[in-house]
């Protein structure tokens, strides 16, 4: 089985370099017939021959050894076993891994992620079944709902209930409604993810987790009291995570240096946190200003801005959600958000008030911009971003008086606006 990997791998690498067997054999200093046997897995190789072939193919000799690829083949096979409905060519797993190592690694990673998510789900399910607080809370909720239902039916009876009784039952309804609301809030708080859970989530990058813990303002990069290397050292990251995090930290540092808070914040207050006016005053681009506005120090007289950045397909590129306004991680949000409307009108800002189903109002500024140069007959790719905040009273200007007020939601599944023309999926929480 080990030979299958090596021989096939040699053949694939040779073909990738547009070499025929005769050419490779000559470079490696072995006969063409011997190479043929090796490639067809009829001969194993080691030592000098292995090194010669690796050198000839300009690859790491370790990639021709059995070690790590055995683990990859096992993961590919595990993925195949996990879904028996799809008939896979299991006998060719080694050859597949050797031929298409990238796809094999992708399958392995997806299987690992699926395993992790199943473990998380099982843990959560177990917790919900066995959590005494949760069981008690659900029982309490059902009891209060029973009272509310039964009492409401009594009040709706014909002939009507005598007034003294009706007053009593109305009072009961009020008490139980308040108790139900409190219990529901307690349940939500009980299951709020901790920062540890967020850090351990495979879909939350270490950079995102660090931002979240620090309210999206990194003092150490703002005042340069620590280097990026020092910050990364403190996080427990593997090599690829560190590489991605480094890039994100560099971008943050660039923003902090370009718009240092001591000068930016006073100007922002003076210009009513208006991205267009700030961009003009600072001779900068609007997206950079929006990013700076979304990363301000927490202060009583400073609005807390959320930010959503998406590409032309609506896929989320960057998000800073607010406690009162959750953002999707990948997509599928309310189609009425101005961030999506902006995509069709690049470089033209949209400002509006967003009226949420909860009754909350947010101020939103959306802006889309090209990310490449347009070519004849092919419009440029665009991205869009939306800056939003409930703290608009801190910077309200006369220009805001006539702003459109858009009734929006978060996601169709949890939005009670049943008659919304943009609805894509049913409301799951309604009757």
């Amino acid at each position: 089985m080990a030979r299958t990997l090596v021989g096939t791998r040699i053949r694939e690498n040779r073909r990738a370099r547009n070499l025929n067997q005769k050419q490779l054999a000559a470079i490696a200093g072995i006969s063409g017939s011997y190479l043929n046997l090796i490639e067809h897995n009829r001969r194993g190789i080691a030592g000098k021959t292995l090194l010669s072939l690796a050198r000839a193919l300009e690859i790491d000799p370790r990639s021709l050894s059995d070690g790590s690829d055995r683990a990859l083949v096992d993961r590919v096979k595990k993925a195949a076993f996990a879904d028996r409905e799809i008939k896979t060519e299991l006998d060719h797993a080694e050859e597949f891994t050797a031929r298409y190592p990238g796809f094999a690694r992708l399958i392995g990673r997806l299987q690992d992620r699926s395993d992790r998510q199943q473990q998380d789900f099982a843990a959560l399910s177990d917790r919900m079944k066995n959590d005494p607080f949760f069981a008690e809370a659900i029982h309490l909720m059902l009891s209060t709902i029973t009272t509310i239902k039964s009492t409401s039916e009594i009040l709706a009876m014909k002939p009507a209930v005598p007034d003294n009784k009706a007053d009593r039952f109305l009072s009961n309804l009020l008490s139980e409604s308040e108790r139900l609301a409190k219990t529901a809030t307690d349940v939500l708080k009980h299951f709020e993810p901790s920062s540890d859970v967020q850090n351990n989530s495979p879909d939350n990058s270490p950079f995102e987790a660090l931002l979240d813990q620090n309210h999206f303002f990194l003092d150490a990069l703002e005042d340069e009291s620590a280097t990026i290397a020092e910050i990364i050292d403190k996080l427990d990251l593997n090599e690829s995570e560190a590489k991605i995090a480094r890039k994100s930290f560099i971008n943050y540092q660039r923003m902090a240096r370009k718009f240092p808070i001591p000068s930016f914040l006073p100007m922002a207050r003076e210009l009513s946190f208006d991205p267009l006016r700030l961009a003009h005053a600072l001779s900068s681009d609007v997206p950079s200003i929006c990013f700076r506005l979304a990363h301000l120090p927490v202060a009583q007289n400073t609005p807390n801005f959320g930010l959503l950045q998406c590409d032309g397909a609506g896929a989320v590129l960057y998000r800073k959600q607010l406690q009162t306004f959750a953002l999707p991680r990948f997509g599928g949000a309310c189609a009425l958000w101005p961030v999506y409307r902006s995509l069709s009108i690049p470089l033209q800002p949209i400002t509006a008030y967003l009226d949420m189903p909860t009754g909350e109002r947010l101020f939103a500024f959306s802006y889309s911009y090209p990310t490449e140069t347009a070519q004849i007959g092919m419009p440029a790719r665009t991205e869009s971003l939306m800056l939003f905040t409930p703290d608009y009273r801190l910077f309200q200007s006369p220009n805001h008086a006539g702003l459109p007020q858009l009734p929006v939601g978060v996601q169709c599944a949890v939005c009670p606006r049943k008659d919304c023309s943009a609805r894509r999926s049913p409301y799951l929480l309604g009757g």
């Binding site: 659900i138 029973t146 009272t147 509310i148 239902k149 039964s150 209930v161």
Partner: protein
């Protein structure tokens, strides 16, 4: 069992507003209603009141409704007493456990008032 023409019901339930609603509904039907809110001592309460029917919640303080039901069925005096069990735990296994313990009828919360009243009369006729 009750020895006058007015049928009587005992409600064993710790949620006072549910007791209030149930009492109103059943008194409106001409029934006499008594209630008790603690699992401990509820079997004695039932024995002392000699009702025609018991409405019993499963989740009670100190002693569960299931234990009370079992004790009722073990008691010579109360073994034939109709028992309507109310529960927020509506899983099939809970219903089966209650049936094994000798429940007369099993209803899940929240319930419709008219269905509850209909079930009470059904049990009182038996």
């Amino acid at each position: 069992m009750g020895c006058n023409l007015t049928k009587s019901v005992v409600i064993i339930e710790d949620e006072p507003y549910i007791v209030e609603a149930l009492s109103f509904l059943l008194e409106r039907e001409g029934l006499t209603v008594s209630s008790y809110s603690d699992g401990a001592g509820s079997v004695d309460f039932i024995a002392n009141h000699s009702p025609d029917l018991v409405i019993l919640d499963i989740m009670l303080p100190n002693v569960s409704g299931m234990q009370i039901l079992e004790e009722i069925r073990r008691s010579q005096k109360l073994s034939e007493l109709p028992v309507l069990m109310l529960t927020a735990k509506g899983q099939k296994k809970d219903q089966l456990a209650a049936e094994d313990a000798g429940v007369s009828l099993f209803m899940t919360k929240p319930f419709a008032n008219d269905e509850l009243v209909a079930n009470v009369w059904e049990l009182l006729k038996r």
